[in-house]
């Protein structure tokens, strides 16, 4: 029976030899992401900045220019309107109002008044006061730091420290480039995005660990093999699994992207990018870095039984 093989059985792609290209590419991605972030900043959602968001449905296709002029006329500060998935659904965002939490309430009332019966349905209303906005920012930051910390601890516990460094570099690379992506396309960075970033972190490490596991196993098995060859072999051996798993996850995400609706679209995009970049970083970044970090072969507790079974 003919089975679908995404990756042929005995690949021997010289990943490690091509590492300079990969490292150069990664460096470019990270630097440009940082540059984008510093120059263009992030499109922070109201979850973090505080502010008002209204998702409205209009009679027939929305006349955004008209709606915009109406809302701007209220002089409530920065106003953003955009079509949201369908021509008759508009997302209106207002910046945080001065005067604390109660001022936000008044602003919403004014906006609703001025929009009048141009609006058929208020699908969603969100007001986030400055207090909560600041708190959510802090929580998001803590979550990311805690995740990276916990993961680091775990890797350090399970593997040698050099692996830990490789894993964290790959992880940081993935997180930074994801943020760069959001900066580049001015995608809204809100709580869901943070969820995506954390999940990407988990997935990226997941991927890296699988390759590391194989590297460690091969280091025990092939004491005589040169490190570059050993790394290469490890990557090639796990390639089939890596590709297949990324593929299944991507398939699920593509379904979400196409059919999941506009609300989680940003999240889905982040995840899809994250899967791709996570796979890439495990292969092209984490393992080659081990070369530069002088990983010891016998540094691990080698169980005599494993040695016997392996030979």
């Amino acid at each position: 029976m003919m089975l679908l093989r995404m990756v042929p059985a005995d690949t021997n792609i010289q990943f490690v030899n091509k590492r300079f290209i990969a490292l150069a590419l990664s460096a470019f991605l990270v630097l440009s992401s940082l540059g984008l972030y510093l120059s263009m900043g992030l499109n922070l959602g109201i979850d973090f900045l505080g502010g008002i968001m209204l998702e409205i449905k209009t009679k027939g296709p929305a006349d955004i220019a008209d709606l915009r002029s109406r809302v701007s006329g209220l002089n409530l500060g920065e106003v953003s309107l955009q079509e949201f998935g369908q021509p008759d659904v508009v997302l209106i965002r207002l910046q945080r109002q001065e005067g604390g939490d109660n001022a936000q309430q008044e602003a919403v009332t004014k906006v609703k008044q001025v929009l009048g019966d141009a609006v058929v349905e208020y699908r969603r209303t969100e007001l986030v006061g400055p207090t909560v906005g600041a708190e959510l920012q802090e929580a998001a930051f803590l979550a990311i730091v805690a995740a990276i910390g916990a993961i680091l601890l775990y890797i350090w516990f399970r593997f040698e420290w050099q692996f830990g460094v490789g894993a964290v570099v790959a992880l940081a690379h993935d997180v930074i480039t994801t943020i760069g992506l959001f900066s580049l396309f001015s995608l809204e960075f809100n709580l869901s995005t943070v969820a995506a970033v954390l999940t990407i972190a988990g997935y990226s490490i997941n991927d890296t660990v699988v390759v590391f596991d194989r590297v460690r196993e091969n280091m025990r098995k092939f004491k005589k093999m040169s490190l570059p060859d050993l790394f290469n072999r490890s990557i090639n051996e796990t390639l089939s699994r890596t590709v297949n798993t990324s593929l299944t996850t991507l398939l699920a995400l593509i379904a979400l992207f196409a059919f999941g609706g506009e609300v989680i679209r940003g999240f889905t995009v982040a995840m899809m990018w994250g899967i791709c970049i996570g796979t890439y970083s495990s292969i092209a970044l984490a393992v080659p870095l081990l070369l530069y970090l002088n990983v010891h072969r016998g540094g691990e507790d080698v169980e005599p039984e494993a040695q016997k079974a392996a030979s």
Partner: protein, 520 residues
């Protein structure tokens, strides 16, 4: 390796069976399994607000205002009681969070002190220069008062929300001084805010006859506008004593009724309130008694005679509807403090339904993609993995129904994601088997080696994603928390199904066929 102990098999069967059973109510029309015990299947998953539609309000209690109020009110009364008990007089001022007290007779100071301590044990009293005393609420005392305040507010809000007739609202305390209210299915969020937000603080004061409402009031009184407008269109001001005689908390009942053809609200005090009311009306016959609601004087009738029975009538510019609304507010009790809104989110039913539909469609299609892919890539074993995957989804849904975990739109995304990632464990095992076969192992030992070698990798990799998911659950709020929940549950169940269920199926197949080669 081929031996799969019976207890393991039964365990797997039982778990999978439960999974399907507990997941089932989500697909059946409601009411299907009513009347079963609490733990039995029959509960559907609880849907988050972004899927049900509804309103979400996060409020903060105005503790500063409350502290000021109790200092001005009940604690000042305690000072006076202690002073008169000691046979002296005390002048008291509110300064910040403390009362500064000047006792007239220095020789009565100690007596006064011990009395005050008895009256209000939660105050810490220190002596200042010049024979003054400073009484402050201790840290613990403050926390306790705030805590009680929040508790009272919660029960008031609960009663008000219940009176609106909504289904299963969620009202809970968050942190020290915040309250979260979630009301699913509510379309009219404006009315909710009005009913909750309205402080309906009713206080009863004596009108200060000596001061001129258009001039400056003495220190013991304040000017408060009334509901009625004067000839110039502006509300008529009243000069009333700051001292609060009675509050809405002494109120037992309030009913809308009619008097002289006009809507009024009749009220009744509890026994303590009736006593105080009796005292006040007895000593102040002929004077005006002001009823203040939310900072406005509603009415200031003259006390004709002592009212010892504890009931009265509020007359004001009421309509039948506003008299009814006011009665609701008064009956449910006065909110002991005012609130500010920190966060408000509301999702209309249209978007809610759209989200559910989108989530369902995306998940089903995603699952179909993955199922097909596994068969294409791994053939028969792919089918076995697919069966395990279906049980996996059933387990996730079942667990969520039992735990009544909240399903949100990101949560549905989490399930879809888990579907994609769940097969990873199987992929690891199958790839391993392929390798072992290539290395020359027999089918049986290849399967065995596949499972053994892959196990540590599976645990390692799933554990890291589990860390991320748990952190999301801990730090997240609302829909994001829902994502953390489904992801965590999903990882646990997929580890179980991949390792146990697929293995069982593979072993069964191996035993039956005893093949020469593995179709992987």
């Amino acid at each position: 390796m081929l031996d799969f102990p019976l207890w393991k098999r039964i365990l797997i069967l039982v778990v999978c069976g439960f999974g399907v059973l507990y997941a089932a109510p989500n697909f059946m029309p409601s009411g299907w399994m009513q009347g079963l015990a609490e733990w039995a299947p029959g509960k559907r998953m609880s849907l988050g607000l972004d899927l049900q539609g509804g309103a979400h309000l996060l409020m903060q209690v105005d503790t500063e205002g409350y502290i000021k109020e109790i200092l001005e009110g009940s604690y000042k009364t305690s000072v006076r009681t202690a002073a008169s008990g000691a046979g002296t007089f005390a002048a008291v001022d509110v300064v910040g969070h403390a009362l500064v007290i000047q006792v007239r007779d220095a020789d009565k100071l100690d007596d006064f002190r011990s009395r005050l301590r008895r009256e209000a044990p939660e105050l810490t009293i220190e002596t200042l220069d010049g024979g003054k005393l400073r009484a402050e609420l201790s840290e613990q005392g403050l926390r306790d008062r705030v805590s009680t305040l929040v508790q009272q507010s919660i029960s008031v809000i609960r009663r008000r929300v219940d009176e609106m007739g909504t289904t299963e609202p969620l009202i809970q305390r968050q942190g020290d001084d915040r309250i979260l209210v979630q009301v699913p299915g509510l379309r009219d969020t404006e009315r909710l805010k009005v009913i909750i937000g309205k402080t309906a603080k009713m206080t009863f004061h004596m009108v200060d006859m000596e001061c001129n409402p258009s001039g400056r009031p003495p220190a013991t009184s304040q000017i408060i506008p009334s509901d009625e407008a004067g000839r110039d269109g502006k509300p008529i001001p009243y000069c009333i004593e700051k001292r609060v005689r009675l509050t809405g908390q002494n109120l037992v009942d309030a009913q809308p009724t009619f008097q002289d053809g006009r809507p009024v609200v009749s009220f009744r005090f509890d026994s303590r309130g009736a006593r105080t009311f009796g005292q006040v009306t007895t000593t102040n016959v002929g004077k005006l008694f002001a009823i203040v609601l939310d900072g406005k004087v509603i009415t200031a009738p003259r006390i004709e005679e002592p009212i010892l029975g504890g009931s009265g009538i509020i007359r004001g510019s009421f309509t039948a509807q506003s008299a009814r609304d006011l009665s609701i507010l008064l009956r449910a009790g006065a909110l002991p403090a005012s609130m500010s809104y920190l966060e408000e989110r509301s999702v209309g039913p249209g978007l809610g339904q759209d989200s559910v539909d989108a989530g369902k469609t995306a998940s089903l299609i995603g699952m179909a993609f993955v199922l097909i892919f596994m068969v294409l890539a791994y053939g028969l074993f792919g089918v076995l993995a697919d069966i395990a995957l279906l049980f996996n989804v059933a387990l996730i849904l079942g667990l969520m129904s039992v735990l009544q975990a909240t399903l949100t739109l990101p949560g549905i995304a989490g399930i879809a994601l888990t579907i994609g990632m769940a097969v990873d464990a199987n992929v690891l095992i199958f790839e391993r088997m392929r390798e072992e076969v290539r290395n020359g192992r027999t089918p049986l030992s290849a399967v065995d080696a596949g499972y053994r070698r892959a196990l540590t990798t599976i645990i390692d990799s799933n554990l890291t994603t589990l860390i991320a998911a748990t952190l999301l659950f801990v730090f997240g709020s609302g829909p994001v928390k829902g994502f953390g929940v489904t992801l965590t549950i999903g990882i646990v169940t997929s580890m179980f199904t991949a390792i146990m269920v697929t293995r069982l199926l593979v072993v069964i197949w191996l035993r039956r066929r005893r093949p020469q080669a593995l179709p992987v």
